[in-house]
Protein backbone atom coordinates (compact mmCIF):
# COMPACT_ATOMS: atom_id res chain seq x y z
CA UNK A 1 0.00 0.00 0.00
CA UNK A 2 2.86 2.35 0.87
CA UNK A 3 6.37 1.78 -0.43
CA UNK A 4 9.49 3.89 0.17
CA UNK A 5 12.50 3.18 -2.02
CA UNK A 6 15.81 4.78 -0.97
CA UNK A 7 14.06 7.93 0.12
CA UNK A 8 16.07 10.89 1.35
CA UNK A 9 14.74 14.27 2.34
CA UNK A 10 17.03 17.24 2.71
CA UNK A 11 15.59 20.60 3.71
CA UNK A 12 16.85 23.74 2.03
CA UNK A 13 18.65 24.71 5.22
CA UNK A 14 20.87 21.65 4.70
CA UNK A 15 19.39 19.48 7.44
CA UNK A 16 18.85 15.92 6.26
CA UNK A 17 15.62 14.66 7.84
CA UNK A 18 15.56 11.25 6.14
CA UNK A 19 18.48 9.29 4.81
CA UNK A 20 18.05 6.42 2.35
CA UNK A 21 14.92 4.94 3.88
CA UNK A 22 13.29 1.93 2.23
CA UNK A 23 10.22 0.23 3.62
CA UNK A 24 6.97 -1.36 2.61
CA UNK A 25 3.68 -1.18 4.44
CA UNK A 26 1.07 -3.69 3.25
CA UNK A 27 -2.60 -3.12 2.69
CA UNK A 28 -4.55 -3.33 5.94
CA UNK A 29 -1.40 -3.15 8.11
CA UNK A 30 -1.10 -1.12 11.29
CA UNK A 31 2.36 0.36 11.78
CA UNK A 32 3.95 2.60 14.40
CA UNK A 33 6.85 4.85 13.54
CA UNK A 34 8.93 5.76 16.53
CA UNK A 35 12.16 7.45 17.45
CA UNK A 36 13.42 10.53 19.28
CA UNK A 37 12.07 13.89 18.33
CA UNK A 38 13.92 15.03 15.23
CA UNK A 39 14.47 11.45 14.08
CA UNK A 40 12.38 12.05 10.97
CA UNK A 41 9.01 10.56 12.01
CA UNK A 42 6.98 13.58 10.91
CA UNK A 43 8.91 13.94 7.67
CA UNK A 44 8.27 10.30 6.83
CA UNK A 45 4.55 10.78 7.37
CA UNK A 46 4.42 14.05 5.49
CA UNK A 47 5.79 12.46 2.35
CA UNK A 48 2.75 10.17 2.06
CA UNK A 49 0.03 12.81 1.37
CA UNK A 50 2.60 14.93 -0.51
CA UNK A 51 2.89 17.60 2.13
CA UNK A 52 6.54 17.34 1.13
CA UNK A 53 8.31 15.79 -1.79
CA UNK A 54 11.40 13.61 -1.27
CA UNK A 55 14.78 14.95 -2.38
CA UNK A 56 15.74 11.49 -3.63
CA UNK A 57 14.11 8.11 -4.00
CA UNK A 58 10.52 7.27 -4.75
CA UNK A 59 7.32 6.89 -2.76
CA UNK A 60 4.46 4.77 -4.04
CA UNK A 61 1.04 5.04 -2.39
CA UNK A 62 -1.81 2.73 -3.37
CA UNK A 63 -0.08 1.88 -6.63
CA UNK A 64 0.56 5.50 -7.61
CA UNK A 65 4.13 6.76 -7.87
CA UNK A 66 3.95 10.14 -6.16
CA UNK A 67 6.62 11.54 -8.45
CA UNK A 68 4.11 11.42 -11.27
CA UNK A 69 1.36 13.16 -9.34
CA UNK A 70 1.39 16.78 -10.37
CA UNK A 71 0.10 19.71 -8.37
CA UNK A 72 -3.37 19.44 -9.85
CA UNK A 73 -3.80 15.83 -8.87
CA UNK A 74 -2.67 16.19 -5.25
CA UNK A 75 -6.26 16.74 -3.96
CA UNK A 76 -7.26 13.39 -5.43
CA UNK A 77 -4.47 11.69 -3.49
CA UNK A 78 -5.22 13.49 -0.23
CA UNK A 79 -8.88 12.51 -0.34
CA UNK A 80 -7.78 8.91 -0.05
CA UNK A 81 -5.59 9.54 2.99
CA UNK A 82 -7.03 10.55 6.36
CA UNK A 83 -4.54 12.70 8.27
CA UNK A 84 -4.59 13.33 12.01
CA UNK A 85 -2.38 15.94 13.66
CA UNK A 86 -1.14 16.39 17.18
CA UNK A 87 -2.57 19.92 17.23
CA UNK A 88 -5.89 18.70 15.79
CA UNK A 89 -6.08 21.44 13.16
CA UNK A 90 -9.78 22.11 13.71
CA UNK A 91 -11.64 25.19 12.54
CA UNK A 92 -12.71 26.99 15.67
CA UNK A 93 -15.34 29.16 14.01
CA UNK A 94 -17.43 26.13 13.07
CA UNK A 95 -19.35 23.50 14.96
CA UNK A 96 -18.07 19.99 15.52
CA UNK A 97 -20.50 18.77 12.87
CA UNK A 98 -19.23 21.22 10.26
CA UNK A 99 -15.61 20.34 11.02
CA UNK A 100 -16.24 16.67 10.48
CA UNK A 101 -18.35 17.35 7.39
CA UNK A 102 -15.59 19.34 5.65
CA UNK A 103 -14.02 16.47 3.66
CA UNK A 104 -17.44 15.43 2.39
CA UNK A 105 -18.37 18.99 1.46
CA UNK A 106 -15.07 19.27 -0.41
CA UNK A 107 -15.65 16.07 -2.34
CA UNK A 108 -19.18 17.22 -3.13
CA UNK A 109 -21.36 14.65 -1.39
CA UNK A 110 -25.12 15.15 -1.31
CA UNK A 111 -26.42 16.80 1.83
CA UNK A 112 -28.32 13.82 3.21
CA UNK A 113 -25.31 11.57 2.72
CA UNK A 114 -23.11 14.08 4.54
CA UNK A 115 -25.37 14.19 7.61
CA UNK A 116 -25.60 10.42 7.74
CA UNK A 117 -21.86 9.85 7.45
CA UNK A 118 -20.88 12.64 9.86
CA UNK A 119 -23.18 11.21 12.52
CA UNK A 120 -21.77 7.72 11.92
CA UNK A 121 -18.20 9.02 12.34
CA UNK A 122 -19.09 11.02 15.47
CA UNK A 123 -20.86 8.02 16.88
CA UNK A 124 -17.77 5.93 16.29
CA UNK A 125 -15.56 8.34 18.30
CA UNK A 126 -18.26 8.76 20.96
CA UNK A 127 -19.11 12.42 20.34
CA UNK A 128 -22.53 12.12 18.76
CA UNK A 129 -24.09 14.27 21.49
CA UNK A 130 -21.62 17.11 20.88
CA UNK A 131 -22.18 17.75 17.18
CA UNK A 132 -23.62 21.25 17.75
CA UNK A 133 -20.83 22.38 20.07
CA UNK A 134 -17.88 24.58 19.21
CA UNK A 135 -14.55 22.68 19.23
CA UNK A 136 -13.04 25.21 21.63
CA UNK A 137 -15.44 24.10 24.37
CA UNK A 138 -14.22 20.50 24.15
CA UNK A 139 -11.37 18.90 26.10
CA UNK A 140 -8.09 18.02 24.39
CA UNK A 141 -9.02 14.37 24.07
CA UNK A 142 -12.40 15.26 22.62
CA UNK A 143 -10.83 17.66 20.14
CA UNK A 144 -8.48 14.91 19.04
CA UNK A 145 -11.45 12.63 18.54
CA UNK A 146 -13.14 15.27 16.38
CA UNK A 147 -9.95 15.33 14.32
CA UNK A 148 -10.10 11.54 14.00
CA UNK A 149 -13.78 11.65 13.00
CA UNK A 150 -12.88 14.17 10.28
CA UNK A 151 -10.07 11.94 9.03
CA UNK A 152 -12.25 8.83 8.76
CA UNK A 153 -15.56 10.37 7.67
CA UNK A 154 -14.80 9.87 3.99
CA UNK A 155 -13.62 6.31 4.72
CA UNK A 156 -10.12 6.65 3.27
CA UNK A 157 -8.14 3.43 2.74
CA UNK A 158 -5.13 4.97 4.52
CA UNK A 159 -4.98 6.75 7.89
CA UNK A 160 -1.85 8.52 9.06
CA UNK A 161 -1.50 10.15 12.47
CA UNK A 162 1.37 12.30 13.71
CA UNK A 163 1.71 12.00 17.50
CA UNK A 164 -2.06 11.68 17.99
CA UNK A 165 -1.67 11.15 21.73
CA UNK A 166 1.10 13.65 22.31
CA UNK A 167 -0.81 15.81 24.76
CA UNK A 168 -3.08 13.20 26.32
CA UNK A 169 -2.85 11.25 29.58
CA UNK A 170 -2.14 7.49 29.41
CA UNK A 171 -5.77 6.35 29.76
CA UNK A 172 -6.96 8.68 27.00
CA UNK A 173 -3.98 7.73 24.82
CA UNK A 174 -4.84 4.07 25.07
CA UNK A 175 -8.46 4.86 24.23
CA UNK A 176 -7.40 6.74 21.10
CA UNK A 177 -5.07 3.92 20.04
CA UNK A 178 -7.89 1.40 20.48
CA UNK A 179 -9.94 3.57 18.17
CA UNK A 180 -7.22 3.29 15.52
CA UNK A 181 -7.20 -0.46 16.03
CA UNK A 182 -10.93 -0.50 15.32
CA UNK A 183 -10.41 1.28 12.03
CA UNK A 184 -7.55 -1.05 11.17
CA UNK A 185 -9.75 -4.04 11.93
CA UNK A 186 -12.12 -3.07 9.11
CA UNK A 187 -9.33 -2.94 6.56
CA UNK A 188 -7.84 0.53 6.82
CA UNK A 189 -4.06 0.84 6.56
CA UNK A 190 -2.91 2.83 9.61
CA UNK A 191 0.46 4.55 10.13
CA UNK A 192 1.04 6.29 13.45
CA UNK A 193 4.08 8.28 14.57
CA UNK A 194 4.48 8.12 18.32
CA UNK A 195 7.23 8.08 20.95
CA UNK A 196 5.07 6.40 23.60
CA UNK A 197 7.07 3.13 23.47
CA UNK A 198 5.37 1.44 26.41
CA UNK A 199 1.93 1.86 24.87
CA UNK A 200 3.15 0.81 21.41
CA UNK A 201 4.73 -2.40 22.66
CA UNK A 202 1.56 -3.26 24.56
CA UNK A 203 -0.55 -2.96 21.42
CA UNK A 204 1.66 -5.41 19.58
CA UNK A 205 1.83 -4.04 16.08
CA UNK A 206 4.73 -3.55 13.73
CA UNK A 207 7.14 -0.83 14.90
CA UNK A 208 9.55 1.05 12.66
CA UNK A 209 12.29 2.92 14.50
CA UNK A 210 14.10 5.92 13.06
CA UNK A 211 17.23 7.56 14.34
CA UNK A 212 18.71 10.70 12.83
CA UNK A 213 16.82 10.05 9.63
CA UNK A 214 17.90 6.43 9.23
CA UNK A 215 15.75 3.35 9.60
CA UNK A 216 17.45 1.39 12.38
CA UNK A 217 14.84 -1.14 13.38
CA UNK A 218 11.77 -2.79 11.90
CA UNK A 219 10.08 -4.94 14.52
CA UNK A 220 7.21 -6.96 13.10
CA UNK A 221 5.48 -7.35 16.43
CA UNK A 222 3.57 -10.31 17.61
CA UNK A 223 2.99 -11.70 14.15
Amino acid sequence: MIRFDNVSKRYPAGHEALHDVSLHIGRGEMVFVTGHSGAGKSTLLRLIPLLERPSRGSVVVAGANLERIGRRRIPELRRRIGVIFQDHRLLFDRSVFDNVALPLVISGQPRGEIARRVRAALDKVGLLDKERMAPITLSGGEQQRVGIARAVVSRPPILIADEPTGNLDPALSEEIMRLFQDFNRVGTTVVIASHDLALIRRLGHRVITLDKGRLIDDWTGAA
Binding site: E76, R78, R79, R111, N184, R185, V186, G187, T188
Partner: protein, 332 residues
Protein backbone atom coordinates in the same frame (compact mmCIF):
# COMPACT_ATOMS: atom_id res chain seq x y z
CA UNK B 1 -13.04 1.37 5.12
CA UNK B 2 -16.32 -0.43 4.50
CA UNK B 3 -18.00 -1.07 7.76
CA UNK B 4 -19.08 -4.56 8.59
CA UNK B 5 -16.17 -6.03 6.72
CA UNK B 6 -15.17 -8.35 9.52
CA UNK B 7 -11.75 -9.46 8.43
CA UNK B 8 -8.44 -7.74 8.77
CA UNK B 9 -7.24 -9.72 5.79
CA UNK B 10 -6.19 -7.27 3.08
CA UNK B 11 -8.77 -8.23 0.51
CA UNK B 12 -8.77 -6.24 -2.67
CA UNK B 13 -11.42 -3.66 -2.08
CA UNK B 14 -14.01 -3.06 -4.76
CA UNK B 15 -14.26 0.53 -6.03
CA UNK B 16 -16.64 2.07 -3.60
CA UNK B 17 -18.39 4.20 -6.12
CA UNK B 18 -20.88 2.08 -7.92
CA UNK B 19 -21.39 3.10 -11.50
CA UNK B 20 -24.89 4.22 -12.38
CA UNK B 21 -25.83 5.05 -15.92
CA UNK B 22 -23.59 7.63 -17.47
CA UNK B 23 -26.07 10.47 -17.88
CA UNK B 24 -27.47 9.88 -14.42
CA UNK B 25 -23.98 10.32 -13.07
CA UNK B 26 -23.39 13.39 -15.14
CA UNK B 27 -26.63 14.88 -13.90
CA UNK B 28 -25.70 14.31 -10.29
CA UNK B 29 -22.26 15.77 -10.92
CA UNK B 30 -23.91 18.83 -12.42
CA UNK B 31 -26.24 19.23 -9.45
CA UNK B 32 -23.31 18.85 -7.07
CA UNK B 33 -21.37 21.41 -9.04
CA UNK B 34 -24.32 23.81 -8.95
CA UNK B 35 -24.87 23.13 -5.27
CA UNK B 36 -21.23 23.88 -4.48
CA UNK B 37 -21.45 27.13 -6.40
CA UNK B 38 -24.67 28.10 -4.69
CA UNK B 39 -23.07 27.29 -1.36
CA UNK B 40 -20.01 29.41 -2.08
CA UNK B 41 -22.25 32.22 -3.35
CA UNK B 42 -24.40 32.28 -0.22
CA UNK B 43 -21.49 31.65 2.13
CA UNK B 44 -19.49 34.56 0.74
CA UNK B 45 -22.47 36.87 1.19
CA UNK B 46 -22.84 35.55 4.73
CA UNK B 47 -19.22 36.45 5.44
CA UNK B 48 -19.71 40.00 4.21
CA UNK B 49 -22.80 40.21 6.37
CA UNK B 50 -20.98 39.02 9.46
CA UNK B 51 -18.31 41.72 9.06
CA UNK B 52 -20.59 44.58 8.03
CA UNK B 53 -18.31 47.54 8.72
CA UNK B 54 -15.28 46.55 6.65
CA UNK B 55 -17.55 45.27 3.89
CA UNK B 56 -19.49 48.53 3.82
CA UNK B 57 -16.30 50.58 3.78
CA UNK B 58 -15.01 48.64 0.81
CA UNK B 59 -18.35 48.91 -0.98
CA UNK B 60 -18.39 52.67 -0.27
CA UNK B 61 -14.94 53.18 -1.80
CA UNK B 62 -15.99 51.14 -4.82
CA UNK B 63 -19.23 53.08 -5.17
CA UNK B 64 -17.41 56.41 -5.29
CA UNK B 65 -14.87 55.10 -7.77
CA UNK B 66 -17.70 53.87 -9.97
CA UNK B 67 -20.04 56.82 -9.46
CA UNK B 68 -17.51 59.48 -10.50
CA UNK B 69 -16.97 58.38 -14.10
CA UNK B 70 -20.60 57.30 -14.38
CA UNK B 71 -21.85 60.76 -13.47
CA UNK B 72 -19.32 62.53 -15.71
CA UNK B 73 -20.37 60.40 -18.65
CA UNK B 74 -24.02 60.99 -17.81
CA UNK B 75 -23.36 64.73 -17.73
CA UNK B 76 -21.70 64.58 -21.15
CA UNK B 77 -24.60 62.56 -22.43
CA UNK B 78 -27.00 65.25 -21.27
CA UNK B 79 -24.87 68.00 -22.79
CA UNK B 80 -24.86 66.14 -26.08
CA UNK B 81 -28.61 65.82 -26.04
CA UNK B 82 -28.99 69.54 -25.45
CA UNK B 83 -26.57 70.61 -28.19
CA UNK B 84 -27.94 68.00 -30.57
CA UNK B 85 -31.20 69.95 -30.69
CA UNK B 86 -29.33 73.02 -31.94
CA UNK B 87 -27.70 71.44 -34.92
CA UNK B 88 -30.64 71.35 -37.33
CA UNK B 89 -30.38 74.32 -39.66
CA UNK B 90 -26.96 75.52 -40.62
CA UNK B 91 -27.13 79.04 -42.00
CA UNK B 92 -24.58 81.21 -43.72
CA UNK B 93 -24.95 84.90 -43.11
CA UNK B 94 -23.35 87.28 -45.65
CA UNK B 95 -22.82 90.71 -44.18
CA UNK B 96 -22.61 93.09 -47.18
CA UNK B 97 -20.65 96.31 -47.35
CA UNK B 98 -22.74 99.29 -46.20
CA UNK B 99 -22.39 101.11 -49.54
CA UNK B 100 -23.83 98.35 -51.75
CA UNK B 101 -26.89 99.81 -53.44
CA UNK B 102 -30.36 98.35 -53.13
CA UNK B 103 -30.44 97.27 -56.81
CA UNK B 104 -27.07 95.59 -56.48
CA UNK B 105 -28.37 93.81 -53.40
CA UNK B 106 -31.30 92.43 -55.42
CA UNK B 107 -29.01 91.34 -58.26
CA UNK B 108 -26.73 89.58 -55.81
CA UNK B 109 -29.69 87.82 -54.26
CA UNK B 110 -30.76 86.51 -57.67
CA UNK B 111 -27.23 85.40 -58.46
CA UNK B 112 -26.96 83.54 -55.19
CA UNK B 113 -30.27 81.79 -55.74
CA UNK B 114 -28.78 80.54 -58.99
CA UNK B 115 -25.94 78.72 -57.24
CA UNK B 116 -26.55 75.00 -57.07
CA UNK B 117 -25.64 74.49 -53.40
CA UNK B 118 -28.04 77.15 -52.20
CA UNK B 119 -31.52 76.09 -51.17
CA UNK B 120 -32.86 79.42 -50.00
CA UNK B 121 -31.54 82.93 -49.92
CA UNK B 122 -33.23 85.82 -48.14
CA UNK B 123 -32.32 89.46 -48.11
CA UNK B 124 -32.58 91.27 -44.81
CA UNK B 125 -32.34 94.98 -45.38
CA UNK B 126 -30.90 97.18 -42.62
CA UNK B 127 -34.44 98.37 -41.78
CA UNK B 128 -35.77 94.84 -41.48
CA UNK B 129 -32.76 93.85 -39.43
CA UNK B 130 -33.25 96.71 -37.05
CA UNK B 131 -36.94 95.95 -36.61
CA UNK B 132 -36.18 92.29 -35.92
CA UNK B 133 -33.46 93.20 -33.47
CA UNK B 134 -35.75 95.62 -31.64
CA UNK B 135 -38.44 92.99 -31.38
CA UNK B 136 -36.19 90.18 -30.12
CA UNK B 137 -33.60 91.96 -28.00
CA UNK B 138 -35.82 94.10 -25.81
CA UNK B 139 -33.55 97.11 -26.36
CA UNK B 140 -36.40 98.90 -28.17
CA UNK B 141 -36.09 102.19 -26.32
CA UNK B 142 -32.36 102.37 -26.56
CA UNK B 143 -32.36 101.62 -30.27
CA UNK B 144 -34.96 104.32 -30.89
CA UNK B 145 -32.36 106.86 -29.82
CA UNK B 146 -29.99 105.99 -32.68
CA UNK B 147 -29.79 108.56 -35.45
CA UNK B 148 -28.99 106.19 -38.24
CA UNK B 149 -29.14 102.50 -38.72
CA UNK B 150 -25.79 100.85 -37.95
CA UNK B 151 -26.79 97.48 -39.40
CA UNK B 152 -25.47 96.32 -42.75
CA UNK B 153 -27.65 94.56 -45.28
CA UNK B 154 -27.51 90.81 -44.79
CA UNK B 155 -28.22 87.91 -47.08
CA UNK B 156 -29.07 84.76 -45.23
CA UNK B 157 -28.39 81.54 -47.09
CA UNK B 158 -29.65 78.10 -46.26
CA UNK B 159 -27.50 75.48 -47.99
CA UNK B 160 -29.03 72.36 -49.45
CA UNK B 161 -29.73 69.77 -46.78
CA UNK B 162 -27.46 67.19 -48.31
CA UNK B 163 -24.30 69.24 -47.82
CA UNK B 164 -21.89 68.15 -45.11
CA UNK B 165 -19.76 70.42 -42.98
CA UNK B 166 -16.87 70.50 -45.46
CA UNK B 167 -19.06 71.46 -48.43
CA UNK B 168 -20.76 74.19 -46.43
CA UNK B 169 -17.34 75.47 -45.44
CA UNK B 170 -16.15 75.63 -49.04
CA UNK B 171 -19.36 77.34 -50.11
CA UNK B 172 -18.79 79.95 -47.43
CA UNK B 173 -15.22 80.48 -48.61
CA UNK B 174 -16.38 80.94 -52.17
CA UNK B 175 -18.86 83.61 -51.09
CA UNK B 176 -16.27 85.36 -48.93
CA UNK B 177 -14.32 86.19 -52.09
CA UNK B 178 -17.04 88.45 -53.54
CA UNK B 179 -16.39 92.16 -53.49
CA UNK B 180 -19.76 93.11 -52.02
CA UNK B 181 -19.34 90.77 -49.06
CA UNK B 182 -17.79 92.22 -45.95
CA UNK B 183 -18.02 89.22 -43.66
CA UNK B 184 -19.28 85.65 -43.78
CA UNK B 185 -20.55 84.00 -40.66
CA UNK B 186 -21.30 80.33 -40.32
CA UNK B 187 -23.61 79.99 -37.36
CA UNK B 188 -22.48 76.45 -36.82
CA UNK B 189 -18.92 77.38 -35.94
CA UNK B 190 -19.59 77.81 -32.27
CA UNK B 191 -21.43 74.49 -32.13
CA UNK B 192 -18.40 72.83 -33.60
CA UNK B 193 -16.15 74.49 -31.10
CA UNK B 194 -18.45 73.34 -28.33
CA UNK B 195 -18.42 69.88 -29.74
CA UNK B 196 -14.66 69.68 -29.86
CA UNK B 197 -14.48 70.97 -26.30
CA UNK B 198 -16.87 68.22 -25.32
CA UNK B 199 -14.80 65.65 -27.18
CA UNK B 200 -11.79 66.81 -25.20
CA UNK B 201 -13.67 66.59 -21.91
CA UNK B 202 -14.95 63.17 -22.87
CA UNK B 203 -11.43 61.93 -23.52
CA UNK B 204 -10.33 63.23 -20.13
CA UNK B 205 -13.31 61.52 -18.50
CA UNK B 206 -12.41 58.23 -20.14
CA UNK B 207 -8.84 58.44 -18.95
CA UNK B 208 -10.09 59.14 -15.42
CA UNK B 209 -12.62 56.31 -15.76
CA UNK B 210 -9.91 53.82 -16.68
CA UNK B 211 -7.84 54.94 -13.69
CA UNK B 212 -10.82 54.60 -11.37
CA UNK B 213 -11.59 51.16 -12.80
CA UNK B 214 -8.03 50.22 -11.85
CA UNK B 215 -8.77 51.59 -8.37
CA UNK B 216 -11.79 49.27 -8.12
CA UNK B 217 -9.69 46.28 -9.16
CA UNK B 218 -6.94 47.13 -6.67
CA UNK B 219 -9.31 47.84 -3.78
CA UNK B 220 -11.15 44.56 -4.28
CA UNK B 221 -7.85 42.75 -4.76
CA UNK B 222 -6.48 44.14 -1.53
CA UNK B 223 -9.63 43.35 0.42
CA UNK B 224 -9.59 39.78 -0.82
CA UNK B 225 -5.90 39.50 -0.07
CA UNK B 226 -6.55 40.47 3.56
CA UNK B 227 -9.39 38.00 3.70
CA UNK B 228 -7.14 35.25 2.38
CA UNK B 229 -4.59 36.14 5.07
CA UNK B 230 -7.27 35.99 7.78
CA UNK B 231 -8.46 32.61 6.63
CA UNK B 232 -5.07 31.09 6.04
CA UNK B 233 -5.64 28.29 8.56
CA UNK B 234 -8.93 27.33 6.96
CA UNK B 235 -7.30 27.24 3.54
CA UNK B 236 -4.44 25.11 4.83
CA UNK B 237 -6.84 22.61 6.38
CA UNK B 238 -8.99 22.48 3.26
CA UNK B 239 -5.89 21.77 1.17
CA UNK B 240 -4.80 19.09 3.64
CA UNK B 241 -8.00 17.17 3.23
CA UNK B 242 -8.02 17.30 -0.52
CA UNK B 243 -9.75 20.51 -1.57
CA UNK B 244 -9.05 21.42 -5.18
CA UNK B 245 -7.78 24.87 -6.05
CA UNK B 246 -11.12 25.62 -7.67
CA UNK B 247 -12.97 24.78 -4.46
CA UNK B 248 -10.77 27.08 -2.41
CA UNK B 249 -10.84 29.85 -4.97
CA UNK B 250 -14.61 29.90 -5.40
CA UNK B 251 -15.79 31.71 -2.24
CA UNK B 252 -13.18 34.44 -2.76
CA UNK B 253 -14.23 34.99 -6.36
CA UNK B 254 -17.84 35.23 -5.30
CA UNK B 255 -16.83 37.68 -2.62
CA UNK B 256 -15.29 39.86 -5.31
CA UNK B 257 -18.49 39.64 -7.32
CA UNK B 258 -20.54 40.68 -4.30
CA UNK B 259 -18.28 43.66 -3.65
CA UNK B 260 -18.59 44.73 -7.28
CA UNK B 261 -22.35 44.34 -7.24
CA UNK B 262 -22.79 46.22 -3.96
CA UNK B 263 -20.43 48.95 -5.17
CA UNK B 264 -22.39 49.21 -8.42
CA UNK B 265 -25.73 49.51 -6.62
CA UNK B 266 -24.39 52.15 -4.27
CA UNK B 267 -22.82 54.00 -7.23
CA UNK B 268 -26.15 54.04 -9.06
CA UNK B 269 -27.75 55.50 -5.94
CA UNK B 270 -25.04 58.16 -5.70
CA UNK B 271 -25.54 59.13 -9.34
CA UNK B 272 -29.29 59.43 -8.90
CA UNK B 273 -28.88 61.48 -5.72
CA UNK B 274 -26.51 63.76 -7.60
CA UNK B 275 -28.99 64.15 -10.45
CA UNK B 276 -31.71 64.98 -7.97
CA UNK B 277 -29.52 67.64 -6.33
CA UNK B 278 -28.56 69.23 -9.67
CA UNK B 279 -31.98 68.78 -11.25
CA UNK B 280 -33.55 71.99 -9.86
CA UNK B 281 -30.84 74.46 -10.95
CA UNK B 282 -30.47 72.70 -14.29
CA UNK B 283 -34.14 73.08 -15.02
CA UNK B 284 -34.06 76.73 -13.99
CA UNK B 285 -31.19 77.28 -16.44
CA UNK B 286 -33.08 75.46 -19.20
CA UNK B 287 -36.11 77.61 -18.55
CA UNK B 288 -34.02 80.75 -19.10
CA UNK B 289 -33.23 79.42 -22.57
CA UNK B 290 -36.89 78.73 -23.15
CA UNK B 291 -36.45 74.97 -22.90
CA UNK B 292 -38.21 72.47 -20.68
CA UNK B 293 -35.21 70.14 -20.73
CA UNK B 294 -34.88 67.88 -17.70
CA UNK B 295 -31.68 65.96 -16.90
CA UNK B 296 -31.95 62.35 -18.01
CA UNK B 297 -30.83 59.65 -15.60
CA UNK B 298 -28.95 56.37 -15.97
CA UNK B 299 -31.94 54.51 -17.33
CA UNK B 300 -32.25 50.75 -17.43
CA UNK B 301 -29.32 50.03 -19.72
CA UNK B 302 -27.08 52.51 -17.90
CA UNK B 303 -27.91 50.86 -14.61
CA UNK B 304 -27.20 47.40 -16.00
CA UNK B 305 -23.91 48.59 -17.47
CA UNK B 306 -22.88 50.07 -14.15
CA UNK B 307 -23.75 46.92 -12.21
CA UNK B 308 -22.19 44.69 -14.84
CA UNK B 309 -19.02 46.73 -14.81
CA UNK B 310 -18.91 46.57 -11.01
CA UNK B 311 -19.23 42.79 -11.12
CA UNK B 312 -16.59 42.38 -13.83
CA UNK B 313 -14.11 44.65 -12.05
CA UNK B 314 -14.79 43.00 -8.68
CA UNK B 315 -14.23 39.59 -10.20
CA UNK B 316 -11.04 40.80 -11.87
CA UNK B 317 -9.75 42.15 -8.56
CA UNK B 318 -10.47 38.97 -6.63
CA UNK B 319 -9.06 36.86 -9.45
CA UNK B 320 -5.84 38.81 -9.24
CA UNK B 321 -5.58 38.41 -5.47
CA UNK B 322 -6.53 34.75 -5.52
CA UNK B 323 -4.05 33.95 -8.26
CA UNK B 324 -1.22 35.64 -6.44
CA UNK B 325 -1.88 34.59 -2.87
CA UNK B 326 -3.64 31.23 -2.78
CA UNK B 327 -0.84 29.34 -4.46
CA UNK B 328 1.53 30.64 -1.81
CA UNK B 329 -0.43 28.97 0.98
CA UNK B 330 0.59 25.35 1.30
CA UNK B 331 0.10 23.03 4.25
CA UNK B 332 3.06 22.97 6.60
Amino acid sequence: MARGQPTKKPVRQPRRRTKPKADERRKSRLTIWLEQHLQAWVASLGRLYRAPMPSLMTAAVLSIALALPASFLLFLDNARQVTGAWEGGVRISLFLEQQVSATRQQELLRELRGIEEVAHARLISPEQGLAEFQRLSGFEDALALLDDNPLPPVIEIEPRGALDGMAVESLANKLRGRAEVDQVRLDRQWIERLRSIMALIERVVWVVAVLLAAVVVLVVGNTIRLDIENRREEIVIAKLIGATDAFIRRPFLYEGIWYGLLGGIAAAMLVEIGRWLIGGPAQALARLYGSSYALSGLGGSGLLTLLGLGVVLGLAGSYLAVGRHLAAIEPR
